[in-house]
């Protein structure tokens, strides 16, 4: 067990992957000489060479499509897209090709592709570098979606995605790259496809993922001081969703608060709320509550950006309202 950063955890996993399997290579904008927009691949070009750490031209659609082709051709590409906003340029390749090829070919072809990208806000990067569109990908059958909220998961998800035979989209929250945490190396990792109860509690379930996880944990800490015991459930896998763990928590606490940095309309939070209604309606003591981003393109100015995002204080306030309401 070592103490390290989210970024360093990812870099360690990439290094392991490149070292262990000659079919693995890294490809994306500025992943090589520059070291990665978020420095996740710093030093890897020097260690593994330009064949395996490939700087691409700025052509998201084509380098993601080339990743699909290389995966079809027997390689194990890890493609990095700088941010989820840029990934929209590659949406055609991911949705129309990566997600469909196995089914359209009746299982003749598989696409063992990993696409990593940064998501989320909090660094004053405004409306074309700050959005949380994880749900767009979680909507699509044929791909799997992971979102890490801890240093351990940031590391593990790279390797787990690589070990999976299907295309996996791995979201890293850009606000978390400098976050410190514990990292344990070795083969014994929790299945990435199961949600994790990060903090046990009895009064309400706070269901969240990715960049909102540290906020939810901080809120749970603050609530504890006021005598409210919040259980924090980290989704980890956004597709498929681990209904079993989510519903078990809600059945135990009888209240659900969903924290999702995506916009509320047409969101993952809406999907979660529906699943809870379908699976645990009679266990609920009150309505499901949500804390999501304001319905606005994320603004630049700090006070506006802060206001637009889920905040610890908002989570605390909503949790208290929920618990105060007696079913």
């Amino acid at each position: 067990m070592t103490r390290t950063t989210y970024r360093e955890g990812i870099r360690t996993a990439l290094r392991t992957a490149l070292h262990d399997d000659p079919r693995v290579f890294l490809m994306g904008e500025d992943v090589g000489k520059y070291g990665g927009a978020y420095a996740c691949s710093l030093g890897l070009l020097e260690d593994f060479g330009p064949e395996r750490v490939r700087d691409t031209p700025l052509c998201e659609s084509t380098f993601v499509g080339a990743g699909i082709g290389a995966a079809l051709g027997g390689m194990r590409p890890i493609v990095e897209i700088m941010t989820v906003n840029f990934s929209l340029l590659a949406l055609d390749q991911i949705v129309n090709n990566a997600a469909t090829l196995r089914h359209m070919s009746a299982g003749q072809f598989a696409v063992p592709l990993v696409v990593r990208m940064a998501t989320g806000a909090g660094r004053q990067l405004a409306a074309q570098h700050s959005h949380s569109l994880e749900n767009w990908y979680a909507h699509v059958p044929g791909i799997k979606v992971l979102a890490s909220g801890t240093v351990q998961d940031a590391h593990d998800f790279v390797l787990e995605a690589l070990a999976d035979p299907d295309p996996v989209i791995v979201f890293e929250h850009q606000y978390l790259y400098a976050m410190e945490g514990e990292l344990e190396l070795g083969p014994a990792r929790a299945s990435p496809w199961r949600a994790s109860v990060r903090r046990a509690g009895a009064d309400l379930s706070v269901i969240t993922y990715g960049g909102s996880l540290p906020k939810a944990l901080a809120a749970a800490e603050a609530l504890e001081a006021e005598g409210i015991r919040a259980e924090v459930v980290d989704l980890r896998s956004l597709r498929p969703l681990d209904d079993e763990t989510i519903l078990a928590s809600v059945r135990k606490t009888h209240r659900a608060l969903i924290v999702d940095e995506g916009w509320r309309t047409g969101s993952l939070s809406g999907e979660l709320a529906t699943r809870i209604m379908e699976g645990a309606f009679y266990d609920l003591d009150g309505p499901i509550a949500r804390v999501c981003s304001a319905e606005v393109p994320i603004p630049y100015a700090k006070h506006l950006e802060d206001e637009a995002l889920p905040r610890v204080e908002t989570i605390v306030a909503r949790a208290k309202e929920l618990v105060a309401r007696r079913g």
């Binding site: 052509c59 082709g69 390689m75 590409p77 070919s105 072809f109």
Partner: protein, 323 residues
């Protein structure tokens, strides 16, 4: 090449198989046995037949949604292709893909792509895999003139050239992007100009002449294997039918269609073989009988083939269901 009788007859047979197969498809489409989009290749056969003859069995092929001919020539059986069109369990994709999405792993046929330009990055990636695995295999990538204005076209040419990837870009220029004529969709109608600007050796070929297509494709394939670098061929051709079965073909001049039909690639090749005394009327008739029988049997088999069970609807969405 016309002097090689066996090869010539094989090429003629392939063109006739594609022609008769698609005529049958159009016929059964009218009987509603095939539904959805059906894009016929009739008139363009010399392109697939000529180009694919230049490939080795282990080269990869990436095509478009007008790919019945490519699939057949590559060796996916008429039975499997026809059954796919009928949406049957015996189809080459068990009814998942239909006319636009034919696949054959054994033939290294990586599929028909129906988002125009969408197959090009896939071909580039397949070629990258070949390069990284140090094979001498290449990737043949077919697309139409309509694809040449898509962003992915320009991106793919650049990447293939920059990374020296073994891609044979085969532009089937039938002069229409669905209903929009080349002069109305391309600012520079010389389709070799853009690949050349990306540093790719490019050549324009008469796509109605199966011998010329094969000759050019062989030269390009040899060059790719020798240098590792991509090549581009523009194959000028024409589709004799409408874009799809839904298309009323209002945008083309009847005289223009008639003019191109005078250069029917099959008729041209037959005339040439006869003039060179490589084939006789009897040879041609024998091939016709054989091919027609094969197509009829494929249609009968497809009609009688079982449907995929409903219980398998969600099969093959993922390779591994989790958790």
């Amino acid at each position: 090449m016309t002097t090689d009788r066996a090869h010539s007859l094989k090429q003629l047979r392939r063109m006739l198989l594609v022609r008769r197969f698609e005529e049958k498809c159009a016929e059964v489409y009218q009987q509603q046995k095939i539904r959805g989009f059906l894009h016929l290749y009739i008139g363009e056969e010399a392109v697939a037949v000529g180009a694919l003859a230049a490939l080795r069995d282990d080269d990869a092929v990436v095509t478009t949604y007008r790919e019945h001919g490519h699939a057949l020539v590559r060796g996916i059986s008429p039975d499997a292709v026809m059954a796919e069109m009928y949406g049957r369990a015996t189809g080459c994709a068990r009814g998942r893909g239909g006319s636009m999405h034919l696949f054959g792993a054994a033939q290294r046929f990586f599929g028909g792509y129906a988002i125009v330009g969408g197959g090009l990055p896939i071909a580039v990636g397949l070629a990258l895999a070949e390069q990284m695995q140090a094979t001498k295999r290449l990737v043949a990538c077919f697309f139409g003139d309509g694809a040449t204005e898509e962003g992915e076209y320009h991106e793919s040419l650049n990447l293939a050239s920059l990374w020296r990837l073994p891609v044979l870009f085969l532009c089937e220029n039938n002069f229409y992007a669905m209903g929009t004529a080349l002069a109305r969709h391309a600012a520079v109608p010389d389709l070799c100009a853009i690949p050349r600007a990306h540093g790719i050796v490019s050549e324009s070929v008469d796509g109605m002449d199966v011998v010329a297509v094969e000759r050019a494709a062989r030269a390009a394939a040899d060059a790719i294997r020798e240098t590792g670098k991509p090549r581009f061929l523009e194959l000028q051709t024409y589709r004799f039918r409408a874009h799809s079965m839904y298309d009323a073909d209002r945008y083309r001049d009847k005289a223009e269609i008639a003019e191109w039909k005078k250069r029917d690639p099959i008729e041209l090749f037959v005339a040439r073989l006869k003039a060179a005394s490589v084939a006789t009327d009897e040879d041609v008739a024998a091939i016709e009988r054989e091919v027609s029988g094969e197509v009829e049997r494929a249609a009968l088999a497809a009609d009688a083939a079982p449907l995929e069970p409903i219980s398998d609807l969600e099969r093959d969405v993922l390779a591994k269901v989790v958790p």
